[in-house]
Each structure stands twice: as C-alpha cells, then as structure tokens.
Amino acid sequence: MPTQNFKGQKIWQRRTGRESLGHWIMWLIGIAIFGYCWQQISAVTTWFFVWDAPRIADDIWTRATPPRWGYITQLGEPIWDTLNMASLGTILALILAVPVAFLAARNTTPSLLFIRPVALLIIVSTRSINSLIWALLLIAIIGPGVFAGVIAIAIRSIGFCAKLLYEAIEEIDQTQVEAITATGASRWQVMAYGIVPQILPAFAGIAVFRWDINIRESTVLGLVGAGGIGLQLSSSLNVLAWPQVSLILLVILAAVVISEWVSAKVRGAII
C-alpha cells in the first residue's frame, strides 16, 4: 500500500511516487500535444468570422423559420429513394458479408494462413472508408443516381456486418457442431445444422442494426450526387432556400428517429 510520511504519521495515498510521476509526465505530454493542435487550428482560422458567428447564426435562424411546409409534397419521392438505398444496400451487403464472415472466422475458415488475412483485409478496408467517399468514387465510375448510392451503402456495410458476424461465429457453442459432425454429416450439413441456427439471431440483429445506420447515412449521400433526400438538401443549400433546408432537416430527423425506434423494437423482439 503506497503511503506518505507526514510528520511521522503514515498517510494513505492512491499511487506510489513513481506512479504519480508517470501520470504527471503523461498529462504534460498530452496537454502539449493538444496545445500544438489547437495552435494549428487557430492559425488558419479567420477569427473575425468566429466573433461574428452569433449574428450569422441568428440571421440563419430567422431565415429558416418557419419551415416551408408546402415543400413536403415534393419530398415523397426522395424519401422513397433514400429508403431504397438503405434497404437494398443492406440486403446486398448481407449477401456479400456472409461468405466473408465465414472465411474470416477462426473456426470455419478453410485456411488460417492465406484466406483469413484476405478476408480481414476486405473487412478493414471497406469499414475504414466512409460511405460518402464510396459514393463519390462510384459516381465518378458509374454516374450519379440512386444506383451508385445503393452500391456505396452496400460496400461500406460489408466490413461492419462481416466483422460482427465473424465474431458471432467464433463464439458459437462447439459441442453442437461436434454433435452434428458425429452423426456423419458433411461439411455443408454441419454448417447448415450446427452453425447457422446458432448465429441466426445475431445475424437478424446485425441486419436491423445496420439498416438503421444505413438510413442515417443514405440521407446525406445525395450531397455528393447519389440521389435521395440529400440531393434536395444540397440543391436547397445551393440556392440558400433556408425554409426548405429546415423542413428537410426536420424530415431527416424524423426518419432517423423512426428507423431507430423500428430497429430497437425488432431487436427487442429477437433477443
């Protein structure tokens, strides 16, 4: 127990002298790094605009309220497109994620040395790039539109779904698999009767969870030209139609809240 001598009396302390020195140095380095970063940011900031910000914010607020409610009639189709991008993207991603997950899981991969690293690489590289960047890329390749959005959402979701799924596969109860194997089942039968039933609840949960996230992401994909409600947002922003912008933001907010509610309900029913 670390103690400190104080006028001949031992007093309890949380850390030894060496430990507190270490902590102190860590804090010093951390604060120095933060100070440097802050300096870098403030060096390229036009502070005049920042001091002016409250007035600008107030100005935007007065322009944006009240929202132009009549505009909502034109938002039906973009919302449908957004929903399609999220749903079809999720379905496509799940179809592609299942084989990747089986190849990446330690207990089902055909080869630990060669195939597993490739599967993990697919997972990491699709996960680490945002769907907006994928959309940007796909628009350059296959042209603007909802289809590019679907593919962007799908690619982005593969890594996420496959990662969660392969972790679920690695955590299965091995005794059931052994029992099926002991009946003389083939490799595929073991998969269908020993592994798949164990991971189905996790799979359904992942699907709904990712669908919820994809609804959020697809609302903004239009900003780079991939269709959906983001397209309306971007064109309203370009012509500074703030009442339309505020209505679109409200619609997006509603969509996000509803999708989160649906996903929570479904996941509650499964688990």
Binding site: C37, A53, N130, A140, V256
Partner: protein
C-alpha cells in the same frame, strides 16, 4: 401418405426461425413486394454502368500503382489537418462528455439534471456529422475550426451515452463504502465511481478517436477542413492514382489505430 411414412412417421424437419406461420408468410410476401417495388423505381442506366466499368478497372489498377508524389504537399497538409482536428476534437469532446455522462446516469444525478443531459445526448446523436458540419461551416466559415467543433459535438453524444450506461450498471457496494467513510461528493466520484468506469472510458475514448479520424476524412467535402477536400479534387479530376494513395493512407492509419486500441484495451481491462 406413403408407406414408409406410415411405418416410421414423418421425418424430422428444421424448425423455422419465425415460429408463427402467418407472420412468417406476411414477412416473406411483404419483403418480395417491397423488392419488386424498389427495383421498379430505381432506374439503372445499364449502358452508363457498362461504360463505367472501364473507369472502374482503371481505379482498381490505380490501387496497385498509387501516386504519392505528384500531390505530396497537398496530401501531407490535408492529412496533418485531419489528424490535428481529430486530436483536438477528441480531447475537447471527451472532456465535455464526462460531466454530461455523470449527469445522464440516473443513479448519480437528480431528475432535472438527468433530463437535461439526456436531451443533450439525444440531440447530438440524432444529427449526423456532415449535416452539423454544413451548418457550422455556414456559421463559422470554411476551415478546420468548423470540423473541430463538429467532431467535438458528435463525440459528446457517443461517449456520454455509453459512459452513462456504464456508470448506471456499476457496482453500488464500492460507491457506498466510499460514501460511508464520509467522503465529499467529488471524493465519492473520484474514489468510488471513477476507478470502476475507467477501463471502459479509456476503451471508448480510443474507439472514438478512431471514429473521429474516419469522419474527419469526409468533413472536407463540405469545406470543414481535412483530407476530404484533396480527395474530392482528386476524384473530380479523375486522378485515380492520387485518390488511391489517399485512400491507402486512410486505411493504414485506421488499421494502426485499431491495432493500438486493441492493445490498449487489452492492457486496461
């Protein structure tokens, strides 16, 4: 019924995932109807897609031959700005989210404080980074300051919510023991609550730094600083080799961060 079935009974069948048959059928039917409806409304210009395959091939090939040198100064500046934004925003975001997490834990905070903190979290989680960034760029002007504020704001919602949940599920006995020794409120938090949630806080913080870096890569698309602007320009000019180089750098940094977070989380837990 065949003769064999009459002798040995019906063979075993796999149980369906959804047990009620009418619910299962409605699900499947609704799903198919939706798929058809969705497919009808998406008009895919297959000719355009076919034309694009050539460019897609070029892009994939660019990954084997990324160009780090031609635009090296742009890439370097963008990357540094992204990293600087990430670090500063993570520090500020984490510092703000700790008091909010304390306020949003029902076993620590009184009801009014709880409601206020929970609504802050709800607002921060409902708004996506990119939308917040658009608004903040309109208000504060172009540059990394808007990105920094966006990421800080997003960090608050994420970290406070998960940390508050951890505080709510902590072991009450330890906290009570500290209280019984006559500790003040701050001492109670420092010695009774903080040691219990510290491993989770560190793990979440590192995870959030990882997310913040990934998000900082797209904030440049709307003018909020970082590597996104360089990437956008590279795509617009069809400089796939430069774009591939930027994407590779992002992937490598994210992988490194993920590896680091794994090591640190294994150490603190």
């Amino acid at each position: 019924m065949s003769e064999v079935e009459a002798l040995i009974g019906k063979p075993w069948r796999k149980l369906p995932f959804i047990k009620r048959p009418w619910l299962r059928r409605t699900f499947i039917l609704g799903f198919i109807v939706y798929l058809i409806a969705a497919y009808m409304t998406i008009d895919v210009n297959w000719y355009r897609v076919y034309e694009g395959l050539e460019r897609g091939k070029k892009f994939v090939l660019a990954f084997t031959n990324p160009d780090f040198t031609t635009r090296s100064s742009d890439i370097y500046e963008g990357m540094v700005e992204s990293i600087v934004m990430t670090i500063a925003a993570s520090v500020v975001g984490i510092a703000i989210s700790i008091p909010i997490a304390l306020g949003a834990a029902r076993n620590i905070a009184p009801l009014p404080v709880y409601l206020i903190c929970r609504s802050v979290i709800a607002v921060s989680r409902a708004l996506q980074e990119i939308i917040v960034a658009i608004l903040l760029v309109a208000i504060f002007g172009f540059g990394p300051l808007a990105g920094f504020l966006t990421l800080s704001f997003a960090t608050i919602g994420f970290l406070s919510k998960l940390l508050a949940e951890d505080i709510e599920s902590m072991d009450k006995v330890q906290a009570e023991a500290i209280k019984a020794s006559g500790a003040k409120w701050a001492q109670w938090i420092n010695y009774g609550v903080q040691p219990q949630v510290m491993p989770r806080l560190i793990g979440l913080s590192i995870y959030r730094i990882d997310i913040n870096f990934r998000e900082s890569a797209i904030l440049g698309l709307v003018g909020a600083g970082g590597i996104g602007a360089t990437l956008n320009t590279a795509f617009d000019r069809y400089e796939y080799d430069t774009a591939a180089a930027i994407l590779l750098i992002i992937i490598v940094i994210v992988m490194a961060l993920e590896y680091l977070s794994g090591v640190i989380r294994a150490r603190v837990q």
